[in-house]
Point group: C2
Chain length 316, copies 2
């Protein structure tokens, strides 16, 4: 397999990240091309194919040495090929796998981008060595990906692992983006952390650096690090929600490892300290012994996971 290569592609609404890898995941090259969303995204796959073929030609790669192309897309994916919907791209029922394979002549495997990132983290990132793993991405929203026996849990229509919309709170008056009330994302995202902190502020009379400012999640964690009493209360409360939600997931899935990614994890290992008390309280005791880790691949997780997706497909 020493001369064999794979392409890992992470398709976003603005740019397409592309990576060329060896079969052990060693990076040979990576680059970006713009995402052309005009015309309901009809040029995207052709642009991608062009970039792949150009790389193959420039590097004098023999066609039989390309094992295939893995592709992560921001939408629901069925059967590793059909993208039912990807709103940011304008796609609806696009058979991305078969189309890209026809354009290039190489095998293609397609997955949801959050799930593919989870696969990347379980292969070479924070979850390396764990075949049963949950990746939680704490950013503007909460994304997730579940790896079972080394493979993505896709679910019926590709919504497997969308733990941001798991119901965790009965008494919520503000709706989530999905229309429901009390979703995990309403508390555990960066936006959620600010929401939780605003409520803690409103219920407290103590002085706080956060009072009267339009603060961000980073401001909140910074204030807590500086000893701000209200901010410390707020991040403890944030940890309670995070721990409760992850305890629910762990009781259902019994993962070996839970890997935290996304912008909120810039706060570092303190997040794990914050979530543990409520995690330990709520989780089914036999599932308590989980390895905690932070994601390590950053925005490379998508191309690495995509490479693994096709590697698994061609070796089945």
């Amino acid at each position: 397999m020493e001369n064999k290569v794979i392409f890992g592609i992470d398709l976003g609404g603005t740019t397409i990240k592309m990576g060329l890898f060896g079969t052990e995941g060693e990076s040979i090259s990576d680059w970006e091309i713009p995402t052309r969303t005009e015309g309901a995204g009809r040029y995207i796959l052709a642009d991608m194919a062009e970039a792949v073929k150009k790389t193959v030609a420039e590097r004098n790669i023999a066609g039989q040495d390309v094992l295939g192309i893995g592709l992560g897309v921001p939408g629901a994916v069925v059967d590793e090929s059909l993208v039912a919907q990807a709103v940011n791209l304008g796609w609806k029922d696009v058979d991305a796998g078969n189309e890209l394979s026809q354009y290039t002549g190489f095998p293609v495997a397609v997955g949801n981008d959050a799930n593919v990132a989870a696969l990347g983290e379980s292969w070479l990132g924070g979850g390396k060595g764990f075949k049963n793993m949950l990746l939680v991405t704490l950013g503007t929203g909460v994304g997730g990906g579940i790896i079972v026996d080394g493979r993505i849990l896709t679910g019926s229509i590709g919504a497997g692992g969308e733990i941001g919309h798991m119901h965790i709170e009965d008494n919520e008056t503000e709706p989530c983006g999905c229309g429901n009330y009390g979703c995990f994302e309403e508390y555990a995202s960066a936006t959620g952390a600010v929401r939780v902190a605003k409520r803690v502020l409103a219920e407290s009379r103590e002085e706080s650096a956060l009072r009267m400012t339009n603060f961000t999640c980073k401001d909140l964690f910074d204030a807590a690090a500086n000893g701000d009493v209200v901010a410390k209360k707020a991040i403890a409360k944030y940890g309670d929600y995070l721990g409760k939600g992850l305890a629910i997931c762990a009781s259902v899935l019994n993962p070996e490892a839970i890997v935290l990614g996304g912008g909120v994890t810039k706060a570092g290992n303190i997040l794990i300290d914050l979530l543990k008390p409520s995690f330990n309280k709520c989780v089914f005791p036999p599932c308590r012994d989980v390895t905690w880790a932070l994601a390590t691949l950053g925005n490379q997780a998508g191309i690495v996971g995509a490479a693994k997706l096709i590697l698994d497909k061609v070796s089945r």
Copy 2:
């Protein structure tokens, strides 16, 4: 494959159910032998092997026609062989798969009994045709099994699918059997239904057939069917808990089908009607479109699922 047979065995604390099947799951014969739990369960596997060998001899089955033996055990199972613990049997770290294989000379695959039952229901029962399925068993407790792409989600130590101990309620003062507070099982089991009803009764001043009697889950559903107003309120509340818990599972797993089994399902399809309002309210909207079914295999689910477990193993 027409002459090939498989054994499916469901090991319980009192009896061992045994089944002989064809490769399409057609039942050739089934019978029971007692479970000898004395001596920390040391005779169980030998007894089982004896029964298998006797059947093979009596039916003149050629050794090469036996594809293998599937076995469901009431405990945590790792790597389809090692039983970490099975309290009812007295087992601790019993390598059941390898031992039974040595006794019989046939390949063996071992799984947790609830998970194996889920596999059975997804193969030939209420979840037939669905490769992504959740089985929930509503009995004295709440058990579960998750099928992903046709295979059991085992988890790290075999506790995958133990959804009875998923945290669904923050304000609970009575502990669950596992020691936590607010587990799904505290509301959704038969015992939980009675607990919920007693609370509804205590908060109501209306006449009810349930008042001052020591009622069961069946009495509760019977009273509701007879128009008892308090019982109707109570089963509606029971449905709210059931729907909320299953919505959480569905948001994480995105199953095609949810199959309800266990004693409580003797109440019939009304259960599905009762849980739907809260399920629809709490579930992530893309995961709402689930097929609902009742389990159909009853106490045969274990031997059927065990047969499928070994069939999958030998055909991999």
